[in-house]
Amino acid sequence: MDSALASYLLRRLLWVPPILFIVTFVTFTLARLGPGDPVSIATGQFRDPEVLERVRHAKGLDKPIHEQYYIYMKGLLTRGDLGESYRYKGRNVKDIIFPAMYRSAQYNAVALTITISCGIALGVFAARKQGTWSDPTAIGSALAIQSIPTMVGVPFLLLIFALKLGWVPASGWPRDCNVSLGFLGGNYDCIGVLSKEAIIPVIALALPAIAVWGRYTRAFTLEVMKEDYVRTARAKGISEFQVMTQHVLRNALLPLSTMIAFSLIGILEGSFILENLTGIPGVGRLAFESIGSRDYDLIMAITVVGATLFIMTSIFIDIAYTFIDPRIRYGSRSG
């Protein structure tokens, strides 16, 4: 690692704490700005103002925002304490969000694998058939599928495959865990994605993204196919399959790795709409519920964990890039 890269990375890393500080502060304030608070919502119809005040006081919600923020950050930084949920009374936030992320990660990982393999296959296919009808037909169909919004596509998928044909269950997550890995421990033993229930969510997530990967792969493949070494390889009479796998794909995969890295963040963020439509108890649904119930600490935890992951991944991508492509130099870039 050269010194220019090292100092660049150091500067990037130095910026992480202030960025995270702003992220937490903005989220913290924003959540508390709105009308209503978790106590009021959690109370339901039996709402005695005196009782509400008492509970707010007990929870420290009557303190000024900056004071609450100080208390929260102190707990987070000194004890790694993500706080407790108000909606799920007093339950520890980490007991709620990590299992939810785990479930989101499962179906996202499977969907991403499908997307990438189908996408790359589609892209290579389209590039090889450039100039014929197959190329635009393949890419065009993928684009058409990509254009269907989740909230339109999923109900139709469910209607046809769950309700009309009865091939798959209507719920998006198994009610009774079929595949259980006991050694992973209480909250993490169920591999819910390996069930019929997860078929529709996985398809709904995987199919639309194929177009993105297909288009990128096609573009990269076309570029690489024009390079001299590919022509040389071809001229040498190496089989077309070997040319594709050993020369073309290997080079095209380098830039694709960035996309993979960024997709990995998406894995943990879940899908808001899909999870709400199919009833997957993942982090997307959790996030939505916690905003609705103003579950302050849960909102904070989801944002903080999400932002940290994002920042770390983008730094990691920068590092990875210098190894993949030595031409990149960081000395001259400002910031």
Binding site: I19, G34, S147, I148, P149, P155, L159, A307
Partner: protein, 331 residues
């Protein structure tokens, strides 16, 4: 290009260089774009959609479409017919009229967001960051990092959930103070909040691309020449640099439109976007996206869902064609 600039006299050089930079590549690219049938058909569809949205009040006033708020409780939930081509909803309202007015919502939100977030924020901050450099650049890019690292949809929902009441009450105050009626009723506060929030999170990507382009252009000869000839910073920015990045701006903005329309759909679907009685695609789709409703009254989702899908498809095809035409390197 740069060589020519160096030979020209100060007065002419600026006009010539910028003319050459803006007119020709962009113009050529557009001509190339228009030679593609896919692009033309997509553009036609998008244009028709925007026209439909813009003329919704006119269509309503001339009774081409029916009153989107008119309820006919004796004719609720009727399938498509000649009098109601898209059927009627739970209150016997004409679904076609609601779709047309929903497209107006989409038009307003996309155009307003494109302008505030895309043009003003992304282009302005991108240019500034790339050209001025130094601490200004650092500050803008770090602010960008903050926005980029926040989970966008979550933050959009949060902003809309917590700030809506405040924005509405401000609007109500403005209404009472100025005596301009109907500000709240028109749904303007909702629109402002939605495109404000979308812009806030939407500018980062565009700004970064523009910045990196400017960074590489900043040191090129024609800029150095213009600077040495006494051009001011704004002149260099807007007459030299901007035209050179216009291709990228056009591509990223037109790709952004679909994203904005999609976000509005999501927000409204979650009940924090455009509020009824204003029709919007998010609301039309939400009403029927339960599969039980879909099973009984499929047409309620089929028409709005189909039109939105068509719009996104057109945007996607256009984006594909534009990427090909405007950025030949990326093919």
């Amino acid at each position: 290009m740069a060589r020519e600039a160096a030979e020209l006299t100060p007065g002419e050089s600026i006009a010539e260089v910028s003319g050459a930079a803006s007119g020709s590549p962009t113009g050529m690219a557009i001509r190339r774009l228009l030679r593609r049938k896919v692009a033309v058909i997509s553009l036609t569809f998008i244009f028709a959609f925007y026209l439909m949205g813009l003329t919704a009040p006119l269509l309503g006033a001339t009774h081409v479409i029916q009153d989107y708020q008119h309820q006919d409780l004796d004719h609720d939930l009727e399938g498509p017919s000649w009098s109601h081509p898209f059927g009627t909803d739970r209150l016997g309202r004409d679904q076609l009229a609601r779709v047309v007015w929903a497209s107006q919502t989409t038009v307003i939100v996309t155009v307003a967001t494109l302008f505030t977030g895309g043009v003003v924020l992304a282009v302005g901050l991108g240019l500034l960051s790339g050209y001025v450099g130094g601490w200004v650049d650092t500050l803008i890019m770090r602010i960008g990092d903050v926005f980029a690292s926040l989970p966008t949809i979550l933050m959009l929902i949060l902003i809309n959930a917590t700030l809506k009441t405040q924005v509405r009450s401000i609007a109500a105050d403005v209404q009472d103070f100025t005596g301009i009626g109907g500000i709240v009723r028109s749904g303007a506060p909702d629109y402002i909040l939605i495109f404000g929030a979308l812009s806030l999170f939407g500018w980062v990507g565009g700004a970064r691309v523009i910045r990196s382009q400017i960074l590489s252009l900043r040191e090129t000869e024609f800029v150095t020449a213009a600077r040495s000839l006494g051009a001011t910073t704004p002149q260099i920015l807007f007459r030299h640099l901007l035209p050179n990045v216009s291709n990228i701006i056009i591509v990223s903005l037109s790709l952004g439109l679909a994203g904005i329309a999609g976000s509005e759909l999501v927000l409204t679907w979650f009940g924090v976007g455009i509020q009824p009685p204003r029709p919007s695609f998010g609301a039309l789709i939400f009403d029927t996206s339960s599969i039980r409703t879909l099973n009984q009254h499929a047409y309620l989702l089929l028409f709005p869902g189909g039109i939105v899908t068509g719009l996104f498809f057109a945007f996607n095809l256009l984006g594909d064609a534009m990427t090909d035409v405007f950025t030949p390197k990326a093919r």
